[in-house]
């Protein structure tokens, strides 16, 4: 699949002659060819093979893994569920990420800004397994929220907050909202504050000045942050697995199931290619947005 990337026509700059320093990229290139391009090629290859060529010499090329995906509605539904969870997670992340990013971008106190950044980056650097565990202790039937609700007498019994899509989305939002905040705060920070000030001097109230000046100018950040969070949340495995219970079946869960329990590498490969196709679309859109609005070196 990464080959598809490599064949994209390059914008040819005027050739100025490579410096010997260019050779320093060789180890990285080697690493990426062997451990990135080659594996993804292998995955695509497996998706067209009838079996495992190592164990069975009589494998043939087949489309049956893709046909299986199309013929059973269970698989299509899991693709839809993956996209739905990704979409809702992105939307909620945007809604709660925007105010925080705005606050951070407009924070004049150096200490305040550093504190906020720590509050955003510290959760981001805590492992996904750990953060999912934290949400399990909060949302399970005997968890913090349900115990509190029952002891306050607000509900008779525990409310089902996890082992469904709701719990999955809540934990995913917590895990990926820092990416939204960091992307947005960079873009909002580059918007000249005086523009909003000018709008207000001309008679717009604060709300209208925000809607008509800051919000449209931050659109590239909104797009880039949303695409990033979407790309990350459709590939999540741990959180839907632990928070979704039997109610949630996403594509990544299905993929690991095929390897871990069914050992069907061909079908796993086909599911992988499908998920990869969705992700590549998102990545291209993301690079396009950033390349167009923020200049070349701000990519990814």
């Amino acid at each position: 699949m990464a080959e598809a990337v490599a064949t994209t026509p390059l914008p040819r700059p005027r050739h100025v002659g490579m410096s010997p320093i260019a050779w320093l990229a060789a180890p990285a290139l080697l690493l990426f060819v062997i451990f990135f391009v080659l594996p993804f090629g292998t995955m695509a290859l497996f998706s067209f093979l009838s079996g495992n060529p190592v164990a069975n010499p009589n494998v043939t090329f087949t489309l049956r893994h893709y046909e299986r995906f199309l013929s059973d509605s269970l698989y299509f539904e899991s693709l839809v569920a993956t996209l739905r969870i990704g979409f809702v997670t992105t939307l909620v992340s945007l809604l709660i990420g925007y105010p925080l990013a705005h606050w951070m971008a407009r924070m004049h106190s150096r200490v305040g800004h550093a504190m906020l950044l720590m509050a955003v980056i510290a959760p981001m650097l805590t492992g996904i397994v750990v953060r999912t565990f934290a949400w399990m202790t909060l949302l399970q039937d005997s968890g913090v929220i349900n115990t509190t609700l029952v002891s306050l007498g607000w509900t008779d019994g525990p409310v089902r907050l996890m082992y469904n899509e709701f719990g999955t989305v809540v934990a995913l939002v917590h895990i990926y909202v820092p990416y939204m905040v960091l992307t947005l705060t960079g873009v909002i920070g580059r918007i000249d504050e005086r523009l909003e000030q000018a709008a207000r001097n001309l008679g717009a109230n604060r709300f209208r000045a925000f809607i008509e000046v800051t919000l449209p100018l931050s659109l590239p950040g909104i797009l880039a942050g949303s695409l990033l969070v979407f790309a990350l949340s459709i590939s999540a495995y741990v959180t839907p697995f632990l928070m979704g219970g039997t109610d949630v079946l996403t594509l990544p869960m299905l993929i690991y199931q095929q390897v871990g329990s069914s050992f069907n590498l061909g079908f796993a490969g086909a599911l992988g290619v499908i998920l990869l196709a969705v992700s590549l679309l998102v990545v291209f859109a993301y690079n396009h947005v950033l390349g167009r609005f923020a200049g070349g070196e701000k990519m990814a």
Binding site: A22, F32, F46, L100, N287
Partner: protein, 270 residues
């Protein structure tokens, strides 16, 4: 500026701060609650806490399963740090200084492991290793982690290189320093904070890495996140909370070191 200098109770401003306070609480509270469960002595996760005990930390630090996996995770993370710093920093220099054709495209390519599903990187490496018959060696795991760690080193090093005043190097060269001496005495010290920051990111990314490890570890020789995940499928007790504290304390110290080192702001700019 004049508007924010006027300090009078303003309902819009209060609502704005309240909303943001709630969001910060949403970000931080789940991390803090883990600390409560790590010292709560009850056998299962229960709230409110009933006391204070270090039994879960004791269970974690005396369990051979947890300790072996912690040790493996740390060794892998150190190897990933070294490899990705070397590969990433060199690559950043080449991208900025090498006059490479299509360097914009190359940068996007080297960053792409961050956006493509890591679970697919895991699956793809697993299939490649299977096909080529190398099995599931630890170096295979290290290379998988390095692949997703290099973009972080690249990003922080590119950030310092873009802010770099090349006239300093020219001055050194004019004063008679050889290119190699210029590199070691001028360039390297100036890009060092970015490289170190990238290395710290690489370490933590590897230490916390889950989806790639899931495919590449052998049973009985799993990294800490995989062991925690498998444990959590069946049992949710304070040992997980204690183990989680290791990850959280590490993340907090990293954030503080990074802030002191290059300022977290440099990270946001990209």
């Amino acid at each position: 500026m004049s508007a924010s200098a006027r300090r009078r109770p303003d309902p819009v401003r209060i609502a704005y701060l309240a909303v943001n306070g709630a969001i910060v609480f949403f970000l931080i509270a789940p991390i803090l609650i883990v600390g409560v469960f790590a010292v709560n002595p009850t056998p299962y996760i229960s709230f409110p806490p009933t006391g204070f005990s270090l039994r879960w930390f004791e269970k974690f630090f005396t369990s051979p399963d947890f300790m072996n996996s912690l040790w493996l995770s740390l060794r892998v993370a150190v190897a990933v740090l070294v490899l990705s710093v070397l590969i990433g920093a060199m690559c950043a220099l080449a991208l900025v200084r090498g006059n490479l054709p299509g360097s914009r495209f190359l940068t996007a390519f080297f960053m792409s492991p961050l956006m493509l599903p890591a679970i697919l990187t895991g699956l793809a490496l697993f299939q490649l290793y299977l096909l080529s018959g190398v099995g599931r060696p630890v170096w295979g795991l290290v290379m998988g982690h390095t692949l997703v760690a290099v973009p972080y080193v690249l990003r922080t090093t590119l950030a310092v290189l873009h802010n770099f005043d090349r006239r300093v190097e020219e001055a050194a060269a004019i004063l008679g320093a050889s290119p190699i001496r210029v590199f070691f005495e001028v360039t390297l010290p100036l890009i060092r904070p970015g490289v170190i920051a990238g290395g710290i990111f690489a370490f933590i990314v590897s230490f916390d890495q889950f989806p790639i490890s899931l495919f590449l570890v052998l049973p009985n020789s799993e990294t800490l996140p995989v062991v925690l995940f498998n444990y959590m499928k069946f049992d949710l007790d304070g040992a997980i909370a204690a183990a989680s504290m290791v990850s959280i304390v590490m993340a907090l110290s990293v954030v503080i070191i990074l802030e002191k080192l290059i300022g977290l702001k440099a990270y946001v700019k990209l």
